[in-house]
Structures are given as structure tokens and as C-alpha cells.
């Protein structure tokens, strides 16, 4: 059979598939789903493993209050809203003072527009290799920098502001939200840092109510701010802004209730100077009951092992489903050939050789498979747009 005849057979096959568009479409989609599901699943698990492991492996040690190590790691590395016990900031100061490691305290209880507000040391940005591409990093309490995803989602830029979320809608006795001034936006890093708001630890303490500034309603320029007088004391009206902003003037009145070293942090990332310091530090901290020292890479390995067990089970089910789908497709094709018996007889009678008929049928199968593969790989390519740590987030 000549190549020209083969091309004509392929052309006829395409015409046939086009003519029976609905049937062909269903077959292509069935095949595509069977191929795509295990591929996408494998890709997500693989990317999740890579992203999760790499973030954990560059975080040598984590210090927290005694409790669940998984919660501590997920809270401190992925800013997931875990209920973590606290430890005093003094722990961080003492580790820095020892010279054995750099301690990076984290306070993650606040949120702004639904995104986690991470109060930390300015060195955190250097530690994670986060560059401020637009603007500058925070310098005083009340300032913040946004992760790239937060800035893009909310359409915010340096010079704008973002309000922290109130702790609870029914918390009428709670403090006012804090209006944070955005000083910079971080470059995308494809890590959870893209979806967070970073500020100084003191800012987090102010949001949590451990520190405050004094706003004098009598000194506001708004004449509606005061609605009356009660024995010489002004009565503020609803015109007073329902939030606090740490302006440079108010910042000079900032003070904390208690010594800053006694105020709480949820976790402390420890970056030892060298292997010897790491051993000494983990040994010293391991002896103390009031703190818990955790190796994030080991905790993440435990979590991933569980995820992979579920993933392997799911992959098995998907493969079985795929095999069943393939069987159905083959049956449909076999039935289709039987139904096309007259058409194939006609081809034979008008002089088409047997090889042309086989080429025609094979071409149809190859085309269906090719289209299905195309859709499957397109789905695989599209899945890369999903967050790399999606599996971990879904699993937790």
C-alpha cells in the first residue's frame, strides 16, 4: 500500500470521526480522563513532595511550646491557622545571645483580609531569600510588606493600607483593627510566603492587644469626633475612626504592657551557625520541658508518608478505573466495526485492499488516542498552575 493511499485512509478516518462527532467526543473524553487523572495526581504529589520537602529542609530547627509537632510545623512554615501554644520572646533573645543560632520569632495569630499576618524579625525575609521588588521592607511598627499573591489578589501596592481582621464579629469589647501601611511587595517565590503579610513582631503584639498607642480624641481635627462631655471627659462619637493607625506622631506614645521579652510568640525558627552549634542547641533545648524543639524535615516526612499512603491507594483505584474505561472503549470500537460491516464491504467491493481497511480502522483508533492524550497533557500542564503544596493543604 502506497503512502498516498495511507494518507487517504487517514483522511477518511478523520472524516468518519468528524461525522460521528458526539460519539467520538465521548470516546476521546473517556480516554483523556483515564490518562489524565493518574498523571495529574502523580504530578501534584511529586510537586507537593518537592515543595514541602524543600521548605522544610531549609528550616533547620523549630522551637515552640510543648504540643503537636505537626501543628507547629504547619503553622510556622505554611502559616496554616493552627491553634498553637505560645512561649515568651525571651527564648528568642537568649538563643541570639548565645551566638549558637539566629532565632527568628514568629507570631501568626492575626489576619488581614483573610491572609495571615506574620509578625517576625526583619531577618526572616533574608532567611527565606525574599526580595522586596517594589518599595522597601518594614522599618517601624504599623508597616508591613505583602506577599506577591496578596498584593495581586487585593490590588495593593506600596503606599496603600490594609486593615487587620477583627478577632470576632461578636467581640464588641475587643480592640480596634490596626490599619497597616504597606511599604513593599515581595517578589513571587512560589512558597506560602506569597500568601502572607509580613510585619514586625511588635506590630503583631499591638494587634493582639499587648501594646498600644494613645489616641487623644480631643486633638482630632474632625469636629464630629466628640459628641458630648461627661464631667470634663469627652465622649467620642461614631465619627472616630473604627481602627487604629500607627502614625509617626502616635508611634512615640507606643508602649507595651510588660517587658517585650515576656510577650508571646508561637514559634521560633532556629538557624544554627554550624553543625556543632546545631547539636549543642538541640541538646540544650531537648532537656527542657517547657519548650519543644522540632526538626521540620522529619515532621514533614511523617506527614508526606501518610499522604503517599493515601496517594498510592488512590492511584491504584485510578489505574483500575482507567483499565475499565479502556475496556469499555475497546468494546465500543469493536461494536462500531461490526456496525460498519456494510461500509467496509462496500470499500472492499470498490477495490480497496484489505490493508487500506486496516489502516483506516487503526488511524481512527490512533486519532482518538492522540486527541485523548492531547487533552490529558493539557490538563497536566494546567495543573502546574495549582499551588505546589496543594496536596499538603488538602491533606491537612
Amino acid at each position: 500500500m502506497s503512502s498516498r493511499a495511507s494518507l487517504h485512509a487517514c483522511g477518511l478516518a478523520w472524516k468518519h470521526l468528524s461525522f460521528h462527532g458526539v460519539r467520538s467526543g465521548i470516546l476521546v473524553l473517556s480516554l483523556a480522563i483515564s490518562i489524565a487523572l493518574p498523571l495529574v495526581m502523580q504530578s501534584l504529589v511529586s510537586r507537593g513532595e518537592q515543595a514541602t520537602t524543600s521548605r522544610a529542609s531549609v528550616t533547620p530547627l523549630l522551637l515552640g511550646a510543648p504540643g503537636g509537632s505537626v501543628d507547629l510545623v504547619l503553622g510556622a512554615l505554611w502559616f496554616l491557622p493552627e491553634e498553637l501554644k505560645t512561649l515568651p520572646a525571651r527564648e528568642s533573645d537568649e538563643i541570639n545571645g548565645s551566638g549558637l543560632a539566629t532565632a527568628l520569632p514568629l507570631s501568626m495569630t492575626a489576619r488581614a483580609s483573610g491572609y495571615p499576618v506574620v509578625g517576625t524579625d526583619v531577618a526572616y525575609l533574608d532567611f527565606r531569600g525574599l526580595d522586596v521588588t517594589d518599595g522597601r521592607q518594614f522599618a517601624v511598627p504599623g508597616e508591613c510588606v505583602l506577599g506577591s499573591r496578596v498584593a495581586a489578589a487585593k490590588g495593593l501596592a506600596p503606599g496603600d493600607t490594609i486593615l487587620t481582621d477583627p478577632e470576632g464579629l461578636l467581640d464588641i469589647g475587643g480592640g480596634y483593627p490596626l490599619r497597616l501601611r504597606i511599604t513593599g511587595v515581595l517578589a513571587p517565590s512560589n512558597t506560602p510566603d506569597d500568601g502572607a503579610v509580613f510585619c514586625d513582631l511588635k506590630t503583631s503584639w499591638i494587634i493582639a492587644g499587648y501594646g498600644h498607642v494613645h489616641v487623644e480624641v480631643t486633638e482630632t481635627e474632625d469636629p464630629e469626633a466628640i459628641m458630648g462631655d461627661n464631667d470634663g471627659r469627652p465622649i467620642a462619637s461614631s465619627a472616630v475612626t473604627p481602627y487604629t493607625e500607627l502614625t509617626p506622631e502616635l508611634l512615640s506614645t507606643l508602649h507595651f504592657h510588660g517587658e517585650p521579652e515576656d510577650l508571646p510568640v508561637e514559634a521560633i525558627i532556629l538557624v544554627p551557625k554550624d553543625a556543632k552549634s546545631r547539636t549543642i542547641l538541640s541538646g540544650r533545648l531537648g532537656l527542657r520541658d517547657e519548650v519543644s524543639v522540632v526538626y521540620p524535615s522529619e515532621v514533614v516526612k511523617e506527614v508526606l508518608d501518610r499522604v503517599f499512603q493515601i496517594g498510592a491507594l488512590l492511584a491504584g483505584i485510578l489505574v483500575a478505573t482507567g483499565v475499565a474505561t479502556l475496556g469499555v472503549v475497546l468494546l465500543v470500537l469493536a461494536l462500531s466495526i461490526r456496525l460498519r460491516k456494510d461500509e467496509l464491504d462496500t470499500l472492499r467491493r470498490i477495490g480497496a485492499p484489505r490493508s487500506a481497511t486496516i489502516t483506516l480502522l487503526l488511524a481512527e483508533v490512533v486519532m482518538l488516542a492522540a486527541l485523548a492524550c492531547m487533552i490529558a497533557f493539557a490538563a497536566l500542564a494546567a495543573s502546574t498552575a495549582l499551588p505546589a503544596d496543594l496536596v499538603l493543604r488538602l491533606a491537612t
Binding site: 487517504h8 551566638g99 527568628l104 531569600g129 522599618a139 461627661n230 492531547m374
Partner: protein, 322 residues
């Protein structure tokens, strides 16, 4: 021909999709690869710390100080942009004890920041210069009334405190310059040793009978304690025209105490000298040593503190010992 072209186009698309699926860039795991400057930058908040860092670090470091344009470093209040510049230093030497209150409000990297007076925090003195503006209450009934401790800041005027602060600077520089740790350690020991005669001199002064002294500035607390000298406070910031309670309050203090000397941080102007003379007060210049003496970059802090003690000792020597 279109019948033949369609499958070819579809095949090309298939290959493109496969390539796109395979070309998945791995997530960024970049760590900071910031290149360290060849000479580490050390920010020192005042003259004593600048002097210690220079003496210990020498040409191994580049010491930076607050840019104050003629004002005292104690009045330095940097803008956020200046704070960002300070954040970039490899080591930030702060005094602590409420010196430069801005440091308590700035976002400074804790791992690179050393509060040099922390080792003797329990010995910090509460400031006698309290105008009551640190007390306040929350709520109309006074619930939550609280005050915030306000510390006397000029810790370095005591030679013992200064020695401990120098040791703290030496320790921090030893960590920063680990390759030259031996050199740094030796220089640090030498510097600490140079305080020993001053500590003995302060003890000697504390054994003398001193004339009644009035302190213009409320900053001589640590010096007075180290030398066992009782000073009466005039509450007179030397850059202001008169004491907070007015010149009459000083006159009353002189009359009540019979003091003939007033400690001042710098030479009084002719007009001020005349005012003091009218009150039979002799100005005794004891610089606060927050800043290096203008135009004198060669004098070290140890030398300057020694001069202060000499001046004070001279007052004691003039009196008959009891």
C-alpha cells in the same frame, strides 16, 4: 489536501502539549546569596560604643554612627529609610537602659543587635528625671492604671558599667570576626584592662569627702553612684535656658544646700557663667560623653572618662578628708 493536513496539525499540537507538560519549573527554593561586604559594617549608637568598636575592631570593621548634623546622638530619631540602612549593618551596637527610645520602636534584626548593658540590667537605675508622663490609666474609673519604668540611660559614666559594655562589644565582635577571633579577643582584653585604673580611681573618690555638688543634667546618676558621690539635681537640660522649675528653684537649692559647685556637660557661655557666679556656683565641666568631643577624633572613651574622674577627684582632693 485539508483531509491530510488536519491529522498533521493535531499531531503537532500533541507534541506541543507533551513538551509543555514536561517543562515544569521546580518551585523556587532560593536562599539568600547576599554577598557580604569585605569590611563588615558596625553601627554604634553613641561615642562609648563607637570607641570600643574602633579600638577592638580596628581596620577589620567599618564603624558607623548616627548622622546627627551637630546634634547629640541622644537626640537621634531616624526616619524609616535611615532605619533600613541601619538594618543592613552586620552588627548593631545599642546601649539599652532607655538610651535612644527610637530603638524600642524600630524593626532591627535581633540576631545582629546587641544591647551592651543587658548583662547588668538588674543594676539599671530608675531615672530620677520623671515628669510623670509615663503613668496613665485605662477607663474612666481608673482601672488598669499603670506606669512604665523609665531608666537612667547614661550607663557608661560608671567605669565598671563601661568595662562591661566594652566586654559585650568585644564578645559581639569576636562572633562577627570569627576568622580574627584571637586578635579581637586580645584587643578586647586590653580594652577591659584599661578600665581597671578608672574603677580604682572611682573607688578612691568614693572614699573622699566631697563638697556638696549640684548636677545640672539629670544624667550623672551612674557616675555619682560609681564614685559614691551625692549630687543634688537641678533638673536643668544644659541646652535649655533655665531649669524646668525656673532659675529661682536653682537659687533656692543653692541656698538650702550651700553647694558651691555645679556639674555641667559643657563649658557655660559667658552669660550663663555670670548667672552662676551670681549664685556663687562654680561650673565643673563633666562631659556626658554621648558624642566625641568636637574636632577631637583621637581621644578614646577611656581617656575621656579618665578626664572626668580626674576632674571629680580634684574636687575631692581640695577638701579635708573626714
Amino acid at each position: 489536501m485539508s483531509v491530510i493536513r488536519t491529522p498533521v496539525i493535531l499531531s503537532s499540537l500533541l507534541i506541543t502539549c507533551m513538551l509543555a507538560a514536561c517543562d515544569r519549573s521546580s518551585p523556587s527554593t532560593a536562599m539568600s546569596t547576599q554577598t557580604e561586604p569585605t569590611t563588615p559594617k558596625v553601627f554604634a549608637i553613641n561615642f562609648p560604643l563607637q570607641s570600643f568598636a574602633t579600638q577592638i575592631g580596628g581596620d577589620l570593621i567599618q564603624v558607623e554612627v548616627p548622622k546627627v548634623d551637630g546634634f547629640s546622638a541622644s537626640l537621634y530619631n531616624p526616619s524609616p529609610e535611615e532605619i533600613i540602612t541601619i538594618q543592613d549593618a552586620n552588627l548593631i551596637l545599642l546601649n539599652g537602659a532607655d538610651f535612644s527610645p527610637w530603638t524600642g520602636r524600630a524593626s532591627l534584626p535581633a540576631s545582629k543587635t546587641v544591647i551592651t548593658s543587658r548583662s547588668f540590667k538588674k543594676e539599671w537605675l530608675e531615672s530620677s528625671h520623671d515628669h510623670g508622663d509615663h503613668d496613665h490609666q485605662h477607663g474612666p474609673e481608673g482601672e488598669g492604671v499603670h506606669s512604665h519604668a523609665h531608666w537612667a540611660a547614661f550607663t557608661w559614666l560608671s567605669p565598671m558599667n563601661a568595662k562591661r559594655q566594652a566586654a559585650s562589644v568585644g564578645q559581639a565582635l569576636g562572633r562577627l570576626l570569627s576568622a580574627d577571633a584571637a586578635v579581637v579577643e586580645q584587643r578586647s582584653k586590653d580594652l577591659q584592662g584599661s578600665f581597671d585604673p578608672l574603677i580604682k580611681q572611682a573607688e578612691r573618690i568614693s572614699g573622699m569627702t566631697m563638697p556638696t555638688l549640684i548636677a545640672s543634667e539629670p544624667q550623672y546618676q551612674y557616675l555619682a553612684k560609681a564614685c559614691g558621690v551625692e549630687v543634688l539635681e537641678a533638673d536643668w537640660h544644659w541646652n535649655e535656658p533655665a531649669p524646668h522649675a525656673g532659675m529661682d528653684s536653682l537659687r533656692a537649692l543653692v541656698e538650702a544646700s550651700g553647694a558651691g559647685h555645679i556639674l555641667v556637660p559643657s563649658e557655660p557661655s559667658a552669660e550663663r557663667s555670670a548667672t552662676l557666679k551670681q549664685m556663687n556656683l562654680e561650673a565643673v565641666v563633666i562631659p556626658l560623653l554621648v558624642d566625641p568631643r568636637s574636632g577631637d577624633s583621637a581621644t578614646t572613651f577611656v581617656e575621656a572618662l579618665g578626664r572626668n574622674l580626674d576632674t571629680l577627684e580634684a574636687l575631692g582632693s581640695a577638701q579635708p578628708t573626714g
